[in-house]
């Protein structure tokens, strides 16, 4: 689809309907016209003309500043809106869109009807568009912009925007050619449909600019006398490629369909979707939620047939005036249950409900499963309740409400540095450890999707954690080998009645004033948070130093940790830090708190 006058249409509201309007942009220092509207074109102004000339010709013409970002934003908004026709919409900057309507056209009564509807809706919003439906991107592009049967772009005819509408959509039929719908086109050039197999005839009369070539190639071709595509279609390829470059020949092949050109969709295409259109837009939240539940039931049916469950779900709400809202919810385990999906989105709407403003209502509600995963049905017992599923659902709901990164488990890391000995990992991305040693391999289905949850390959060990026997319980911590080697060995060797690691750790160690009797010894007293504690007992030092090869960076971390108990019984984990610079005095910090 080609939005012919996107730049002027965007700001047309500020000016009178038939007033000539030109847009100026600085090009290499001089102001040139970047876009003109129909009335200005009728007066003989063209894009590329210097502004001074234009002003000389028509002193009172209205001029506006070019704003490419706003134009692009408008294009993106239109692309969002075109999502209602097909999920595969690609941007053809700066003023076109490519829609793949394979298989979607029948929902709107055929390709011509789709094209007509698209153009008409856009015209109602004040945007002129021209459309062409064809079997290949190249053909559709060329036909939309340069076809002679559509009203030509620069003819001097004054006509209001509403009457000159052309719908542009592009159907890419696969190599197994499906037949295009043959519908009569209404007068006024509303839509140009190129039936499959007729690309050659369609592009033959077009000028060579319809092939998306750069200007140097066009001038070179013009110099040789080749002006229309028909001239080059029958020539041998090798000399053309040698003279004008391989890309020229590739464009011809793409237009004819001999070479594949896929459309890059703007947004990821969902694996499965269900949608509901309303003749009267709905605005109540409970109606939206009820619709989501019904759609989820339909989606569950499709997913069940494929044996899959959804990991990332998206609800797309199309507002009646064209704005599109997208809500997402990720899950920890593949989910199919309609009721649970509806609850997830109920939570989501609870959180962001204020931003989703229904306005006059939503006329389409669509539920997509963006990422799916194999989900085999599991045999559940009759007597034992299904704890795994309940827990997974709780994690999903809390994740939907607060963000999946805020529901986490702690994973041990192989390092003796206390701050890094544990990392928090989103619980949704880990398989439940209680599912009897299953190796859950969840791979990333669609790359490049910046979602907030992780799909990782995680495998549980196949043995259950070793159950401590009564005899050895005093000597082995509960989980062998999971936690930092340093802490485990310390506990094993010391068999201390008091834990060696605190239960709470501060993200930033808090500085304290402490005085020690000996330079290397534990403090005799310390003042922490304005309370003075006198040390009754202390154990340590435990020296934790950075690995020696980090010294080159200039940062050495050397800490002597003490487990300290004050006279009142307050037990903290203090350390004595030796800074890298020998001239600075060593300092004391509280890093953690014991029970």
């Amino acid at each position: 689809m080609w939005l012919r006058r996107i730049a002027t249409d965007r700001i047309a509201k500020r000016f009178a309907p038939d007033e000539a309007l030109i847009i100026a942009a600085p090009v290499k220092g001089a102001l040139r016209l970047s876009a003109v509207n129909d009335a200005a074109a009728a007066l003989g102004l063209r894009a590329g003309m210097p502004l001074a000339d234009a002003r000389a010709m028509h002193p009172a013409i209205a001029v506006a500043q070019a704003d490419e970002r706003a134009d692009l934003a408008l294009l993106e908004a239109v692309a969002d809106w075109c999502d209602r026709y097909t999920p595969l919409v690609g941007l053809d900057a700066p003023d076109g869109l490519l829609l793949d309507v394979t298989g979607c056209a029948h929902l709107f009564g055929g390709e011509a009807a789709l094209a007509r509807d698209l153009v008409r809706q856009l015209a109602r919003r004040g945007l002129q568009a021209r459309a062409a439906v064809a079997g290949t991107v190249g053909c559709a592009w060329g036909v939309a912009r340069h076809s002679a049967s559509l009203p030509p772009p620069e003819r001097g005819r004054s006509a209001s925007a509403a009457s000159r509408v052309g719908v542009s959509s592009h159907s890419m039929t696969p190599t197994r050619r499906t037949s295009c719908v043959d519908l009569p086109l209404s007068g006024g050039g509303e839509g140009e449909i190129v039936r499959s197999g007729e690309e050659r005839n369609a592009i033959a009369p077009l000028p060579l600019t319809a092939l998306r070539l750069d200007t140097d190639t066009i001038t070179a071709l013009a110099q040789v006398g080749l002006k229309h595509i028909a001239d080059v279609l029958d020539r041998p390829r090798a000399p053309l490629a040698a003279r004008f470059g391989a890309s020229f020949v590739r464009r011809i092949d793409q237009a004819l369909g001999l070479e594949d050109e896929p459309i890059t969709p703007r947004l990821p295409v969902p694996a499965a979707l269900a949608e509901q259109r309303f003749p009267e837009p709905i605005a109540h939240e409970r109606d939206v939620l009820g619709t989501i539940e019904r759609l989820a039931a339909r989606l569950a049916h499709v997913l069940e047939q494929r044996g899959e469950g959804a990991r990332l779900l998206q609800v797309v709400l199309f507002r009646a005036d064209g704005k599109v809202f997208r809500l997402e919810a990720g899950t920890g385990a593949p989910l199919r249950e309609p009721r649970l999906i509806a609850r997830l989105f109920a939570d989501r709407l609870d959180v962001i409900g204020d931003e989703v403003d229904p306005g006059f209502g939503f006329d389409i509600v669509r539920l997509c499963a963006l990422v799916t995963e194999r989900s085999d049905p599991q045999q559940t017992g009759l007597a034992t309740p299904d704890h795994d599923a309940e827990l997974a659902h709780l994690i999903d709901r809390l994740g939907a409400r607060f963000g999946l990164r805020r529901v986490m488990r702690q994973m041990p890391q192989d390092t003796h540095i206390p701050e890094f000995a544990v990392t928090a990992v989103a619980a949704a991305s880990l398989p439940s450890p209680l599912r009897g040693g299953s190796t859950a391999v969840a791979q990333r289905r669609r790359s490049g999707w910046g979602s907030e949850f992780l799909l990782t390959t995680a495998s549980n060990s196949h043995d259950p954690p070793p159950q401590p026997s009564p005899a050895t319980r005093a000597f082995t911590p509960v989980f062998d080998g999971l936690w930092g080697e340093g802490a485990r060995e310390l506990a094993v060797s010391l068999d201390s009645p008091f834990p060696t690691r605190p239960i709470r750790l501060f993200a930033r160690p808090e500085p304290v004033d402490a005085t020690a009797e000996l330079p290397d010894g534990p403090p005799a007293q310390f003042t922490w948070r304005r309370v003075r504690h006198i040390v009754a007992r202390a154990e340590g030092p435990e020296r934790i130093a950075m690995r020696w090869w980090r010294d080159e960076a200039g940062r050495t971390l050397m800490r002597d940790y003490f487990r300290v108990e004050s006279r009142d019984g307050v037990r903290v984990w203090l350390f004595h830090e030796w800074p890298a610079d020998p001239h600075l005095a060593p300092r004391w910090f509280v890093h953690g708190v014991f029970a």
Binding site: Q410, L434, F479, G484, R504, A507, G569, R571, G592
Partner: protein, 255 residues
């Protein structure tokens, strides 16, 4: 339907209801210390909300007590497959520190059966706790609140705990004044530990004060937690250390 069928149907309904009913009063979490268990009437009520308060200096100890209770709850026979949930607020993490895996593991709570939810605001923590209490797959839910949740909030949580048979623990900063609908209320402080034979730190010691108990008397006790065996033991106050310079005198040890 025939009267005989109706009677059979109601008989079946009763039988199903009986088999499905949660034995609420029999599920108590025994602490292992006879004095406290007797005061609590068998143990901490398992399907209820309990409140642990501590002054800011002793918050670490209160968290430790909560974790010790959660560790006991995890080891109960029916709860082996269930997990523990800890709800923390961002501000609480700044003030008292975040939970530290290696430390928890040593303390006796299986850290891979622990889920941590970090929320931004206390009202979110209330929501999370209510949802978690309704989930039957958790053996204990612990939430830490900076400001006091009010009476209606604790009543909701208490009902949720009772209806779904979950154990809920609230950690509060401050003293015990505000009204609350929890089943039992405790005030926790740290106690000096008994040093081991080398003069080092002994097992973690808590000073508990039970301020509200519907099943028995209130009282104060001092307990120690053995993190290897994962049991509580009573520690009576006033244990005299062995006199090192008078080896002929007997050591006075009680408890």
């Amino acid at each position: 339907m025939l009267p005989a069928d109706m009677e059979q149907l109601s008989r079946l309904r009763r039988a199903i209801a009986k088999s499905e009913a949660l034995p609420e009063e029999t599920r108590s979490l025994a602490l292992g210390v006879p004095a406290i268990d007797a005061a609590l009437g068998g143990g901490l009520p398992g399907a209820a909300l309990h409140e642990l308060s501590a002054t800011p200096l002793h918050l670490g100890v209160a968290a430790g007590f909560a974790l010790a209770l959660a560790s006991l709850a995890q080891e109960a026979p029916k709860e082996r497959a269930k997990e523990t949930l800890w709800i923390a607020t961002d501000f609480g993490n700044l003030e008292t520190g975040a939970l530290y895996g290696p430390g928890l593991d040593q303390f006796g709570l299986a850290a891979d059966r622990l889920l941590i939810v970090r929320v931004a605001r206390p009202v979110d923590a209330l929501f999370a706790m209510e949802e978690a209490l309704k989930c039957r797959a958790l053996s204990a839910v612990i939430a830490e609140f900076g400001e006091t949740p009010d009476l209606t909030a604790t009543r909701r949580l208490s009902l949720a705990a009772k209806d779904h048979g979950s154990l809920g623990l609230i950690l509060r900063h401050g003293s015990n004044d505000a009204p609350s609908a929890a089943r039992t209320r405790w005030q926790i402080a740290s106690a000096p530990s008994v040093p081991d034979e080398f003069g080092g730190l002994g097992p973690t010691a808590f000073s508990l004060e039970l301020t509200r108990n519907r099943r028995g008397p209130c009282g104060t006790w001092t307990l120690t937690w053995d993190h290897h065996e994962r049991v509580f033991a009573a520690l009576s106050l006033g244990v005299a250390e062995a006199d090192r310079d008078r080896p002929d005198r007997e050591t006075l040890r009680t408890g």
